[in-house]
Structures are given as C-alpha cells and as structure tokens.
C-alpha cells in the first residue's frame, strides 16, 4: 500500500518488499537469458535487467484491484511486479500450455486479466491508445482507478503517443504515462532522434504536467509515482513521468549492444538499483549481508523452480491453434 513520502525511507518493511521484488526480477531475467542461450526460449526476449526499480517502484504504489497496468514488450519485470506467478511466466516464455497466455503469446504478450495486467504489446507505441481507453472506462464509470501506461524512449515519437495524450487531456482521463527512458531505442541513442531530449516537457504540448526521475533509485521512483498517482486520483487529470533508467543487456537477446561503450555500462552498473537499495538498507541497519544472501538465494531458487516447471509442462495441443480466435 502507498505511504507518506517522508516515511518511505524509514519503512523497513516496504523497502524489504521492494528489494525482494527487484531481486526476483533480476534473477528471473538472468535465468531467462540463460535459457534463451540454451534455445529453450525462442524469438524475441527483451530483458528488464537494470530497469527493475521502475516497475517495482511504480507498481507498489497502486492497487491492482482497481488500477491497471499496460506496457509494451519488455514486460517480464512488470508482470512479476504485478504479482504474476514466475512459474507461469517462464512457462509462457517456453511456449507451454501452462503459460499465462497458454503458450499463445510468448515473451512479448504476457497478460493477466485478474491482476489488471493488460499486456505485453508488440507494436511500438500502439498500446498507448489502448491504455488511454482503459482510463476512459474508469472515468466513464466514475471509478477510483488509475492506469499506469509504460513505454520506452522508442515509442514517444509515435503518432499514437501524441494522439493519446491529447485525448486524455481533453477528456480528463486518470492515466499516468510513464516513459522508461533507457536511452536507446533498440540501437539508436535517443538524443540522435529526438528534437527535444527532455521528455518530461513533451506533455506540455498537451497541457500535461511532466517530471523527470532517476530510475536507478527505487525509493525516488516509488515516492514520485505515489505522489503523482494520488494527484491523478484526486484531480482526474492525466500526467506524465520520464524515468531515466538503463538496460544492462542489449535491446533483446540478439542484440550485441555495440552502440554503447563498456565504460558507460560499467558506470550504470555502479548505480545498480538493487545494490543501491542494499547499501542504503545495510547502512540503516534494515538488512544484514546474511539476510541479503538468503533473499538472493531464495529468488535464485524461485527462478530455478520456474524453469523446472516450464521444462516439465506440456506443449499446447495442436487443437489450441483454433481456440480463442473469437469469443
């Protein structure tokens, strides 16, 4: 549940939760990478390593019983932060019948209707209008919900982004547009293709307030998203956050990421969100090394179990080809 900003830094229970979720995502993604390397997972696999603080910080501020999350294809981290079962996510990556999308979606199309996790969308930027439509429903039904719409720096120049912000503003829709700027749209440094590089001002074209955050600090992400979500709930206006983050791996598994230097990567790794939080908690005696090790071990083992589950799960039968085309 959400907390007052000043208390977050002292809330050991909350911080531990954030740490655990980030470690879960980190170890899960590493396992997924490994399994991709062993050809158990095919096609595209967009890893969230390095960006954990964004999903974890943001999603812990909302209530998935009334709020919604929509994201693009770098969705493993968000899915796990929404509380989806790692076993079922891994099984989906493996394409098995026990996967969360019954093996029909794959890495880019993780969905969970119950947890209001609406994908997992493959076309850059095309989910932004869809997320806005979800907010339309909330507004129409006078509900108390908020939509968190995540997308990358690669999507912000799509027409769909601009059309959506305009309509969200004219209709006062309760949606928070979060741009996870990991600074590279696939292989392109965002500054090369952006007329304006401070994305937080892009909402201004539509009268939408925007702010820029450091996505390597989970506490900052949590605090700011929490504040913004509360504001949206109260005032029924859309808002925008540019969260600057970094992905350690390439755009996807087949990207050797030669467009950035090793030094740059090492610099960001020094700001690793997990290690950052760990240092802070150790300092404040909220955590011991032993505890950290145990947590880490726990999530390594969760990831192993997820792989085991996926390996042992059956393939979907051929008849599934024709299922769920139409309602």
């Amino acid at each position: 549940m959400a907390k007052q900003t000043q208390n977050i830094r002292d809330d050991a229970g909350l911080l531990k939760k954030l740490l655990e979720q980030m470690l879960l995502i980190r170890r899960f993604e590493e396992k997924a990478a490994q399994m991709y390397g062993l050809r158990k997972i095919g096609g595209f696999c967009h890893l969230y390593i390095g960006q954990e603080a964004v999903a974890v910080g943001a999603i812990n501020t909302i209530d998935l019983k009334k709020d919604y999350v929509v994201t693009a294809y770098r969705d493993h981290g968000l899915a796990l932060a929404c509380g989806m079962d790692p076993k079922r996510v891994m099984a989906e990556l493996y394409g098995k019948a026990t996967g969360c999308s019954k093996g029909k979606g794959g890495s880019m199309h993780l969905f969970d209707a119950e947890r209001h996790m609406l994908g997992g969308n493959g076309i850059v930027g095309a989910h932004i209008p869809v997320a806005t439509g979800v907010a339309l429903k909330i507004s129409y039904k006078n509900e108390d919900g908020v939509v968190l719409c995540f997308f990358g720096d690669g999507a912000i120049h799509q027409g769909s982004f601009h059309e959506s912000l305009n309509m969200a503003k004219i209709w006062d829709l309760p949606i928070l547009y979060i741009c996870e700027n990991n600074q590279y749209g696939m292989g392109t440094d965002f500054s090369r293709v952006s007329s304006v590089t401070d994305f937080s001002v892009m909402g201004a074209s539509y009268g939408i307030e925007g702010k820029q955050l450091n996505g390597m600090d989970v506490i900052e992400v949590y605090a700011e998203v929490d504040r913004t979500v509360k504001y949206i709930r109260k005032n029924h206006v859309p808002s925008f956050l540019e969260i600057k983050t970094y992905r350690y791996k390439g755009h996807s598994m087949s990207d050797p990421a030669t467009y950035r230097t090793k030094e740059e990567l090492e610099d960001y790794k020094k700001q690793d969100p997990i290690l950052n939080l760990k240092s802070y908690m150790l300092e404040k005696s909220m955590l011991t090394e032993e505890e950290f090790k145990n947590i880490d071990k726990k999530y390594r083992s969760v990831s192993e179990e997820a792989v085991k589950f996926a390996e042992e799960s059956p393939e979907p039968p051929i008849e599934d080809l024709y299922m769920d085309v139409l309602a």
Partner: protein, 432 residues
C-alpha cells in the same frame, strides 16, 4: 551448492564453441555479469558473461577445446566446496552424450513440428485423377493440333455424359471454343439414338424361334445399322507377306514366359501407320472432321454372347510389349464381362482379326466414332512371284480396310494401307 556452467548459444546459429581464453582461473571469485571466458563461435569471438556468482571451482573445457551447446564447461560454487559428486554426474552424462543419434534441440523441435503436421495432414484428401482430356501427345505433332482435338466440357456436362453413357467426342459443344455444356447433352439425349455410341455387333445366329431382344442387342442393332447406313463404306484389300513379322515375333518371344500376341504387333504397326496418315484416325463430325490426337485402337474380341472391342489407349506412346500387356488384361476382362464403358467406347480405329477362325478375308463394318476398320485374315503359306519372276513360298495374310468415304477418299486409304503393308513386311521401316 556447486553448479555446472553450461555452454550457451552466443549467436543464433551457433552449434559449438571453442574456448579461446579463460579470463578467470580456478579458485577465482566470479560475479554475475563478469566475463568468464572468450568463446569462438561460427560468427565471431564472443564474451561469455557469467549468469552465476561464486567461486570458479573447476574448469572442464580448456583453452583451445570445443564444447557444444549445453555441455558443462566449468563448475561454480562456494569457495573450497567439494566437487566429486558433481564431477561424477558430469562424467556419467558425458559418457552418454557422445552418441551420434542424439538430437540437437533444434532438430527435436523441427521433427516435433513435422510430426504434428503429418498427424494433421493424415486425414486430408488424396490426389486427384488426371484430367481425362489431357493425354500425352506425340512428340512430333504440334500442340495446336492437339488443342484442336481436346474435348472441352463443363464439369456438369461431363457428369451428365458419363451418367448417360454418352461419348463426349460425339457431342457438339455450343459453348465458347466448342465447350460442351448441359444443353448440348440434353439435346444429344433427345435426338434419336444416332448420336449414341456403343459397339456394333455382328448379328447373332437366328433360330426358327422368337428370341426376345435384350437391351444390348437392340442397341447393337441400332448402332451398327446407323454406322453402315450413314457411312458410305468402300473397301481396300491388300496381301501382306508376314515372314519377317513372324520371325520378329519368334525372336521376341524366345525365353519369355508371357508370349507377345500377333495382335499386339498389328496394333502397333497400325498405330504407326496412322501416325503418318492422320486422316485415317478421324471421325465424321457432321459439319467437320474430327482428327484425333491419340490412336486408341480397339480390337474385336468374341464374347460368349456377342462381340466387344476393348481399346488400347494412346498406342503412339506405347511399345508392343506394353500394348500386349494391356491387351491381355482387357481381353481377360472382356471374356468375363468386366469391361467398363471407357474400356470399349471411343476407339479411334478398330482391328478385327478372324484369322484364328480360319477366315481368309472379310469386310468389317466401321466401328464409330472411327472412320475405318481393318479386317485381318488367316496367315497361310502360298506361292508368291517376285520381281524377277521367281516363285517362292511365303506366309501371307490378307488385310481389308473398310473406309468412310465422307472422310477420306480411295487414294488416302490406299496410301495408308500401302504404308501399313510395307511396315509389316519390313518392320524396321517404322523407325523411319
């Protein structure tokens, strides 16, 4: 807890990798994300980043050595941990691993997909029967001539024709390009039996009693009358020396279990002669002459209750031995009354051989849709006079060709018969 470090796919197409350099040595600490070693793949030399953390307890694949995807290349665990158990496990799997039949994951996936596809396709319909009208033509003839003879008919018309035992060749098509369509079949069926085809049969022996006419007999009577009374028949007769033919046949049949019949030879020679005299392989079409694109030669076979002419189709593309094979099957069926309409309807030319009955010569009635029929008599020995007025004993056979004067005149018939005679007398001639 000691863990295996496995070789992973560092490029999408990599199958094996060679360790170029170990960046860590046994006993070193390893952090997640650190480069363990450099691996040469099919594409380039890539860095292998460790997904695991701990101490590099053992290196299993040395610099310069190769490993396949999923092979263990090292062991990582707690510093100082005992690796005996895990080594044992690796040793055992290694022993099993190098079996040639072991499938790579990719192949497994592929064969699973193929198996699934085959399973799926199992219930699918089989291939279709080749189109009736497309028969392999002779290499020598032009496509256009063949096209001119191809029967075009709508699927419905074909169905109806078959249902009513109608020969499409004789139905005039009113559709584009002469396509036979439903109304043409309907018209044909309304007309008096003139248009209907069946085999003509010689009259049965009449006893001083009333034999009721069977349906078959009625139709034969109608058809044979129609043929005789509408086609103005004329007859050409020639005597053929068959010593060479007999010798050829004997040579061929030496050592064969299945002896090739004389009729097979006659069919082939006739076919070759027809090839050179296309005007004989025709049909009177009322307002045009239909020249067939294949030689479908019928041979008269005596049945217990009549006569039938099973047809060897497309004799231009078959050799004597194959013709004989087919003929034997057809004759067998004929004697058991097992022939289907397509086996005896539509001969472009017919041969009737009464030689075995001791008939020296005779004139036959043309079997529609053809314009000619060849009557073959008995082979006998007789004295022949050659150019030098020398007399010698030869085996001879009389051939009588009945011809439809509407289609071709005496000269044409004579040239054909002459060619046929020459071929039979000097078989090598048909290679010219």
């Amino acid at each position: 807890m000691a863990e295996k470090v496995l070789m992973i796919a560092l490029s999408p197409t990599m199958e094996t990798g060679t360790i170029v350099k170990w960046n860590k040595k046994e006993g070193d600490a390893v952090e997640s994300g650190e480069v363990l070693c450099e691996v040469e793949t099919d594409k380039a030399t890539m860095e292998y980043e460790s997904a695991q953390e701990g101490n590099l307890l053992k290196i299993l694949v040395q610099e310069g050595e190769e490993a396949r995807i999923e092979d263990p290349i090292a062991i990582i665990g707690e510093k100082g941990e005992d690796v005996t158990d895990i080594m044992k496990e690796i040793g055992e799997t290694r022993a099993k691993v190098h079996v040639p039949e072991e499938e790579i994951l990719e192949e497994e996936k592929h064969s699973a997909v193929i198996a699934a596809e085959e399973e799926q396709a199992g219930g699918e319909a089989e291939g279709e029967v080749a189109a009736v009208s497309e028969r392999p033509g002779i290499a020598l003839e032009s496509r256009e001539k063949e096209e001119a003879v191809r029967i075009k008919a709508s699927p419905l018309a074909r169905q109806l024709a078959q249902q009513h035992n109608l020969d499409l060749k004789l139905v005039k098509g009113s559709g584009p390009d002469g396509r036979v369509v439903k109304r043409d079949i309907e018209a044909a069926l309304k007309q008096p039996p003139a248009r209907l085809i069946q085999k003509p049969a010689p009259s049965a022996v009449i006893a001083p009693e009333e034999i009721p006419l069977s349906g078959k007999r009625k139709v034969i009577a109608q058809r044979i009358s129609e043929s005789k009374f509408s086609a103005p028949h004329y007859y050409l007769r020639t005597v053929v020396e068959v010593d060479n033919l007999m010798a050829a046949r004997t040579r061929l049949n030496k050592g064969r279990d299945e002896k090739v019949s004389l009729n097979a030879f006659l069919i082939k020679f006739t076919a070759e002669a027809l090839k050179r005299h296309r005007i004989i392989n025709t049909s009177w079409g009322g307002d045009r002459i239909i020249q067939f694109g294949t030689a479908d030669i019928g041979i008269a076979v005596a049945q217990p209750d009549g006569l039938i002419t099973p047809i060897v189709r497309d004799c231009w593309s078959k050799g004597i031995i194959q013709i004989d094979k087919e003929l034997k099957v057809l004759v067998g069926k004929a004697l058991n009354n097992r022939l289907r309409p397509q086996d005896y309807q539509g001969a472009t030319f017919t041969i009737s051989n009464l030689g075995t009955f001791g008939i020296l010569e005779f004139t036959a009635i043309i079997n529609p849709p053809g314009s000619a029929i060849l009557a073959v008599g008995q082979i006998r020995r007789e004295p022949m006079v050659d150019e030098g007025d020398n007399i010698s004993i030869k085996s001879t056979m009389i051939l009588t060709l009945s011809c439809d004067h509407r289609v071709f005149d005496g000269a044409a018939g004579a040239l054909f018969l002459k060619e046929l005679k020459e071929m039979i007398e000097y078989p090598i001639k048909f290679l010219y």
